[in-house]
């Protein structure tokens, strides 16, 4: 294991905090990622409808297979186009 010395003022924790949750969804675009698990598309489609009804922009994405990580171009596209992502992780 490598041990490094902290170059900072040490005012923040060494374990990186999660990104803060947005306080409001107004004006944000939500990505919905279907990881290609069975019937995930049905659930996520309905979720997308409910979010759209609240006036929040939604974009849909799908992984080609749930067995592998999302292809790099897809990850980059999502990062460039939306502010947050919802994905279904199981059946």
């Amino acid at each position: 294991m490598t041990v490094l010395l902290d170059p900072t003022s040490e005012r923040s924790p060494t374990i990186r905090p999660r990104l803060p949750r947005p306080e409001r969804l107004d004006g944000l675009t939500i990505g919905i990622l279907d990881i290609a698990k069975a019937r995930g598309d049905v659930f996520l489609h309905r979720l997308g409808e409910r979010i759209s009804e609240r006036g929040v922009a939604v974009k849909h994405y799908a992984k080609p297979t749930n067995t592998r990580v999302a292809p790099l171009p897809l990850r980059q596209q999502i990062a460039a186009e939306v502010d947050l992502v919802i994905e279904g992780l199981s059946d």
Binding site: T2, V3, L4, L5, D6, P7, S9, R11, R16
Partner: protein, 480 residues
């Protein structure tokens, strides 16, 4: 391990790689047989063959605890305490220490020993870490075995965008060898967080920037300089304008650490130039928490905010170095920091007299920030050797060039009024009829640097808030 040391009697520490230890091996054998001797061997556990009960100290624990510096070292213990020590081979000393009158008759009278393995660079640091003797107080951050340490550092926001040298304890200890200053000495409070910059914290950032230990005194001086109140580091960082600290190095340290003042002095590839400037920026980033998109609000920034550091070419100059002009003694090493950015070239391949060349310089200087601005920003004029030669041959001192440039940078106020020359930017109507200087008094600085060929000088423009109401250049002596 120390428990293995005898309470009473003789201890020797040796290594096979030392010819003096090899020479003394028969004597060690005699002492072990006749009076009792405990031998610790630092490199080859089979050495010395003359002492069957030798003890393997290839881990160097005992050597470190005994603070061995030279091998062979011979020590006498009495009642668990060291009472006598000698090193190298010296028959008289060994006889005195052992109390035995006759041995080693076949050997020369004396031979110097060799450096002990436990104090070799790279080894001593590991031993200090193992025995918790580093004195380093910074938080330790463990990087997982399967984690890429570069990515781990990027993820923590420590980088300026380029890879970093991982600041391991070994590297930071070696970096601190570059200064006699106490690692816990506080050099200053780094804005915007106003967090304490200890020598240790600065050394960590210097490691990451790629510095060698001998660069550290220059980095420390540069940090001290930007933390002077008159430099206004907080403002230099927070401004939407382009500037960052530019570091100019004078004096013997330039050549001592291999800085570049010649061809491409402001360019790439010289490690000292690049790493010192980068270390300063990393100190502001990591200790001061001065990061883009946070307190650093620069609209465009400039590439020099990665690193901007060079040495003045003092050799062959007829002008006093910048540091001397600013009050230090000739031969003193110094850094001067200037809030500046970029480089505006002055191409003049035809002027052969100083009057013409000074006009060329002034014309370019008057364009800084905006042709409609005066007084405008401060400026650092970097005169290349071929241009300097023209002034030197005509007997123009640096003071003379300053005088001429200030005179040539006077501008009729009517040209500066908002709307004049078809440009909405500009000053109030009251400027009309007045003469306004492009620079405040003292707003120009001149240094000499660059390759021997090429009539290409340059201007490093300053911050529009240059001067006493904003940032003033600061010069600090480099102390070891």
């Amino acid at each position: 391990m120390a428990d293995d040391l005898p309470q009473n009697g003789l201890v020797a520490v040796v290594k096979r790689d030392c010819p003096t230890c090899v020479l003394a091996a028969p004597v060690l054998g005699d002492l072990a047989r006749n009076v009792g001797l405990t031998v610790y061997t630092q490199d080859d556990p089979s050495f010395p063959e003359t002492v069957p009960g030798r003890i393997d100290d290839t881990g160097l624990d005992v050597s470190h605890r005994l603070k061995i510096e030279i091998v062979p070292t011979l020590i006498r213990f009495a009642a668990g305490r060291e009472v006598a020590r000698t090193y190298g081979w010296d028959r008289g000393e060994w006889q005195r220490l052992t109390g035995i009158a006759e041995f080693g008759r076949d050997l020369p009278d004396a031979r110097p020993g060799c450096g002990a393995r436990n104090v070799e660079p790279g080894v001593i640091e590991r031993l200090k870490i193992r025995f918790n003797e580093t004195g380093l107080s910074s938080r330790r951050i463990e990087i997982g075995e399967d984690e890429d340490e570069q990515e781990a550092m990027f993820a923590r926001g420590w980088s300026d965008g380029l890879p970093l040298v991982p600041p391991t304890e070994e590297r930071v200890l070696r970096m601190l060898d570059g200064t006699a200053r106490d690692p816990q000495e506080v050099v200053g409070q780094v804005p915007p967080a106003l967090a304490a910059a200890t020598v240790e914290k600065i050394a960590i950032n210097a490691v990451m920037a790629g510095c060698k230990p001998e660069y550290l005194p220059v980095v420390l001086a540069a940090v001290e300089a930007v933390l002077e109140e008159s430099f206004a580091m907080h403002g230099v960082l927070a401004t939407t304008m382009f500037v960052g600290p530019v570091v100019i190095v004078n004096g013997p340290v330039r050549r001592g650490i291999g800085m570049n003042a010649k061809g491409n002095a402001l360019g790439q590839s010289n490690r000292a130039n690049a790493a010192i400037g980068r270390a300063l920026q990393l100190v502001i980033r990591n200790i001061g928490e001065g990061r883009p998109q946070e307190v650093d609000r620069a609209t465009l920034g400039n590439p020099g905010k990665l690193t901007y550091c060079f040495a003045e070419d003092e050799e062959g100059s007829s002008w006093e170095p910048l540091s001397v002009e600013r009050g230090l003694k000739p031969g003193q090493s110094a850094v001067t920091v200037f809030a500046g950015y970029g480089l505006q070239g002055i191409v003049d391949q035809k002027s052969r007299d100083p009057e013409s060349l000074a006009k060329s310089f002034a014309g370019s200087l008057k364009a800084l920030s905006n042709v409609k601005h005066a007084p405008s920003c401060d400026a650092l004029l970097v005169v290349c050797p071929e241009h300097h030669r023209t002034f030197k041959n005509a007997g123009w001192s640096k003071a003379r060039l300053y005088e001429e440039l200030y005179r040539l940078c006077e501008i009729p106020g009517g040209e500066l009024v908002a709307g004049a020359r078809g440009i909405a930017e500009g000053g109030p109507q009251s400027l009309d009829g007045k003469i306004v200087n492009k620079f405040r008094p003292g707003g120009l600085m001149i240094v000499r640097a660059g390759g021997d060929a090429g009539m290409f000088s340059g201007i490093i423009a300053g911050w529009s808030a240059g001067g006493p109401r904003g940032s003033l250049p600061v010069t600090k002596e480099v102390r070891n």
